[in-house]
Amino acid sequence: MGILVLCDTDGGAPRKSAYELLGKAKALGLGPVTALVLGSADVSSLGGYGADAVLHYDNAVLGTYSTGAVVKALANAIAATGAQYVLASANQVARDAFPRLSARIGAGYAVECTDLRSEGGKLVGRRPVYAGKALVDVATNSAVGLYSVRPNSFPIGASTGASAPVTVSDGGVSAADVDVKVVQTLAPEGKEVDLTEADRIVSGGRSLKSKEGFDSVVRPLAAAVHATPGASRAAVDAGYAHHGDQVGQTGKVVNPSLYIALGISGAIQHLAGMRTSRVIVAVNKDADAPIFQYATYGIVGDLFEYAPLLQKEFEKALS
């Protein structure tokens, strides 16, 4: 019965996505909500966001991700709570662990939902397919259902200040469960927020003409509006930007409130990665570029002329 929510933590505290999922889980009204926390963290805030109980597997083995230990811990948590549904934020942990868990316990897996609702006592998700060109409803018909949820799908309410009882254990896992071992963590290439979580993005395309062009136009404009720089595949393939900067169907799917596209034509594969952005600004010298069909605000003009002007205006507005 009820919902188990895998809560992400960062630096020993729950992440925003944990509060987002707990609030939604509570609102679904499908039974008690248990927050599951893996590794050492301060779990005292979780009750205020919707957790009826907290299961804290405070075990150093779970502090660094390993498939073997985390999948086992999740299976143990499901058995301990008898949860009918398990929610997790759609990040690398869920991407790696949920399908394996699904095969282990025979649980249906609904992938990267952007909406959840309860229907006749069952959990129904809605998820993008074909890179967001279509949406489907998705439901599991197994005893346990696993649902991963894209970050920023639901608003986060204020804490009620409630506290929830905490059960602490080692989760039944030990160092022997670590299969693939992390030997080193490599920091992201840029110091900005990762594209998939960024609230503002400034992207550049092939039209930047060179890495110097990209570095001297896109990056400073992004910095001026506190945004993460992104790129079209054409810009990445030409070496102007890193692989990790690519937005689109074969790059990152992003969901910012502001997306500024500089000299990007708006190919269907690029649009697939950014079409859900709340506000899209396009600067392109071709008035017929497909990106304008999606742009909230369009500027027909030369990006090399507009980018410095915009940079100055943003610096003024945001200082």
Binding site: P99, Y130, V180, V279, E313
Partner: protein, 260 residues
Amino acid sequence: MKIGVCLKQVPATDTRVVVNPTASGILTNDVKWEINPYDDYALEEAVRQKAAGKGTEVVILTVGGAETEQRLRDALARGADRVVRVDDPAMAGADALGYARALAAAAKAEDVGVLFCGRQAVDGDNGAVPAMIAELLGWSQVSWIDKLAIDGGSFTANRAAGGGAKEVVTGALPGVFTCDKGLNEPRMATLPNIMAAKKKPIVVKNLDAIGLSAGAVAPLVAETAMSLPPARPAGRKLTGDAATVAAELVRLLREEAKVI
């Protein structure tokens, strides 16, 4: 050691999606089919590992109909040795776990020691089948790799971690790896290789031949009511001299759209 690679045929990424009348999927009349773009990296990695002496043979494993054979021939021309294609009417209703069961059984029957997959198939965008295969076989798995070194029975790989970070990981084979952009540059088929590929074998097996019943691929997940995302409201073009337009845009972002 034999090297396996899982290839799926999917609609080309520039496909304009049209939902079918029963909202159970897309209309495929005008669809151009391709190998899933991430599977191209998996194939290339398999071929390179074999060339580096890490494997004896590259076996393509796929679940799909006869219409996929043209694309499979192309993959053979890019360096794979043969294909095992699982084709069974029971697969029509399968979900990711059903596909994984079929591919795991095929991998076992072929006795492969390492399996390369794409990070996700760009039709359903699940990214689920490979880790399911790894669990069904009891193997290691590493998701979203962009670097791999195999050394005897062990491996070192770079995988994606949270927040755009990467992790260097080590583990033991057998293993399933899901391949991301950046891992390698997939090659094109050359004409002589296209000719040679015509003679390479494509073996078709039904579920019975790989030891599975139809019940083993019954779905646990139902996807229904396919729809198109809501259209975006029409936008607005700003005109005038550049300095005025730039100032106006920033004002609109702040006062109208309220995003800065």
